[in-house]
């Protein structure tokens, strides 16, 4: 068991990758076995995440050096700095892993039924598992170049998955847009990594964080990193690919892409907090993040009002919700240098934002999955053509409503708890930001009233007389997500204390992150 915990960081990455290349071979033998393999792999990754999480919350940061003679030997004997690829797992990384494990398991179960009629499913599952491995890698790595590699792995597999149903023109277009913006963003990240390497001859985040100076070149690198990650997480005004991509991808892939965007948010926070830390002018960078967040909230929700494509509408709402996270963590970043302010509201804002991250992934994932059910049964994403579907799809309607209410911040669901935490703490930083946040939340409710009204309510339209309820596996994956949503809504204090607060602490505590690798 100890051995398993020691090796679990790499196993979480390597097992999905191994399974990814096993699927094409196995699906030649038996299709059923392939499906079982995919779900087992996802469940196994989730299990490893849980045992690693227990260890990390008990014993602190966990490092794993690839190829060394011992996993914790970060710096080889004759060297002064870490040379090998190091995986560094702290409470923040494992928090992201929990999100990803949950959503990818739900999406995997969903795709068993959703992708049934597609051809070339062995390639679909290969790409899906590659994406799972790539995103896990991004969360667990402690090395900047490795971050770039895993970013590209998840981008390539994600782009291919978006365009998987090549018979739809818009799917290919969405995939192309996704892959182009990912490539440009990733190359800019690589350029910034080159700048770091030129100055410090280091690639490890912790070792770089120890020596970073915030010179002129570091500022250029910071601009590239922050904006490249902001583009990949879909923050306004770099958000325009989000609705194009999310709307056309298969619904399960959209739920996964949503989390893979959040990983870029994680990478952004990692850059700002663990890499630069207090060396940068926290007020400036904090306000840049806050402004990106405010713009995302406002433009995202107002653009969602006029959408008539259900998945585009939810995609714009995603932009809006990620704005909340940027706002909350930006407030934490802006007061990073002031311990008094950090104690009174900074940490609370950050735990609110981080709590909102998991809520965001869960309820938006649920909404996308429910919208996917509509597409699967009705054959359109256009809200103008829908109506009265709740008569035949009662459970889908209830689950969609649950996701919508959670997203709009209606008590007692989880969205309310995290948004309340954000409002309460941001209000002490700047009251106007909190008030705008509340207004945006109200408009969020309005857009979901529109979506729910036009899709589900009213008398059943004659052409949808024979529409049936969602298939069982799709229903199962949606129910998994909704149970977690309700649980988080009823016990928010538990989640904040157990998961969100340690993650916020881990981000703020740069010294601990550095000393885990460099020592001393």
């Amino acid at each position: 068991m100890d051995k398993l915990i020691t090796h679990s960081p790499i196993l979480i990455i390597a097992i999905p990758l191994l399974a990814a290349f096993l699927t094409p071979l196995i699906s030649r033998v038996n299709q059923k076995a392939r499906d079982v393999l995919v779900i087992t792999t996802l469940a196994l990754a989730g299990f490893l995440v849980i045992i690693l999480a227990r260890d990390i919350y008990a014993n602190g940061i966990h490092i794993y050096t690839l190829g060394a003679s011992s996993p914790t030997l970060a710096i080889p004997e004759q060297y002064m700095v870490p040379m090998r690829i190091i995986l560094e797992v702290d409470a923040m990384s494992i928090f992201m892993c929990i999100i990803w494990a949950t959503v990818s398991l739900a999406a995997g179960i969903y795709s068993l039924s959703f992708m049934k009629e597609e051809t070339g499913r062995d390639r679909f599952y290969t790409l899906l598992l590659l994406m799972v491995g790539g995103v896990f890698g991004m969360m667990l790595t402690g090395d900047l170049f490795n971050l770039f590699v895993f970013l590209e792995i998840s981008a390539i597999s994600g782009g291919a998955l978006v365009a998987f149903r090549t018979r739809f023109t818009d799917a290919v277009e969405g995939g192309l847009k996704y892959i182009i913006i990912s490539t440009v963003g990733a190359l800019m990240v690589l350029f910034a990594i080159g700048i770091f390497y030129a100055q410090y001859n280091l690639l490890n985040i912790a070792a770089l964080g120890q020596v970073i100076q915030y010179t002129m070149l570091d500022k250029v690198a910071l601009a590239f990193l922050v904006i490249a990650f902001a583009m990949k997480l879909g923050s306004v005004p770099l958000h325009m690919w989000v609705p194009d991509t999310y709307a056309v991808a298969p619904a399960n892939i959209t739920a996964m892409l949503l989390v893979s965007s959040q990983i870029c948010m994680y990478a952004l926070f990692r850059t700002c907090f663990s890499l630069y830390g207090v060396t940068l002018n926290t007020a400036t960078v904090g306000w840049i993040v806050i402004i990106l967040g405010m713009l995302s909230m406002f433009v995202g929700v107002t653009m969602a009002v006029l959408q008539t494509d259900i998945k585009r509408l939810i995609a714009y709402n995603c932009i809006c919700e990620s704005g909340y996270i940027l706002l909350a963590v930006g407030v934490g970043l802006a007061v990073l240098g002031q311990p008094a302010a950090l104690d009174t509201y900074g940490i609370a804002a950050m735990s609110g934002g981080i709590f909102h991250m998991i809520n965001h992934a869960l309820f938006e994932g649920l909404l996308f999955l429910a919208a996917g059910v509509l597409f699967y049964r009705v054959g359109t994403r256009n809200l103008n053509e829908m109506g009265g579907l709740a008569h035949n799809m009662k459970f889908t309607a209830i689950l969609f409503l649950l996701g919508a209410l959670a997203s709009s911040g209606i008590p007692p669901f989880n969205g309310f708890a995290s948004k309340l935490l954000i409002y309460e703490s941001v209000y002490q930083f700047n009251p106007i930001l909190a008030i705008i946040g509340i207004i945006v939340s109200i408009i969020t409710l309005a857009i979901f009233v529109k979506a729910f009204f036009s899709a589900f309510t009213g008398q059943v339209l004659p052409k949808y007389k024979d529409v049936r309820e969602a298939p069982k596996l799709m229903m199962l994956s949606m129910i998994i997500l909704s149970i977690i949503i309700v649980f988080f809504g009823l016990f928010p204090g538990l989640i904040v204390d157990w998961l969100a607060h340690p993650a916020a602490d881990a981000l703020i505590n740069q010294a601990e992150y550095i000393s885990a690798v460099v020592g001393g």
């Binding site: 590699v149 277009e173 995939g175 892959i179 490539t183 190359l187 690639l203 056309v248 585009r312």
Partner: protein, 118 residues
């Protein structure tokens, strides 16, 4: 790294490549040209990385023909190689998507072939 005119030439080339690439990406509506621009951007970044590996007086890290003290650290080479591999994969994926777009819409123009906006 010594500050002399010849040593800055690669960096000038990097700046030119990235500049050309961004010009193409920003101005060319033809999707094939856009993908070419991305290829040039990747080459520019790769050239930047490989230039960082240069150390005056160092020898290429090939194990069979060097006295060991003079070897440069092969990290930038490894990075460049990885990034080339990734660039190959992305370019192939993008080109195949462009082929599909051309099949569907009969155009490789970013404006004419788009189906979504707003």
């Amino acid at each position: 790294m010594t500050q002399g005119a010849p040593f800055n030439v690669p960096f000038l080339a990097v700046a030119m490549l990235i500049g050309i690439a961004f010009y193409i990406i920003l101005s060319q509506r033809n999707l094939i040209k856009l993908v070419m621009g991305l290829g040039i951007l990747a080459s520019g970044v790769n050239l930047f990385l490989i230039t960082l590996g240069y150390r005056e007086g160092g020898v290429a890290p090939i194990y069979t023909n060097v006295p060991i003290e003079k070897m440069v650290l092969p990290v930038p080479q490894a990075l460049t190689l990885t990034s080339i591999v990734i660039a190959v994969a992305t370019l192939a994926l993008m080109l195949s998507m462009v082929v599909h777009i051309y099949r569907h819409t009969g155009s490789v123009d970013a404006e004419k072939s788009r189906t979504m906006k707003g």
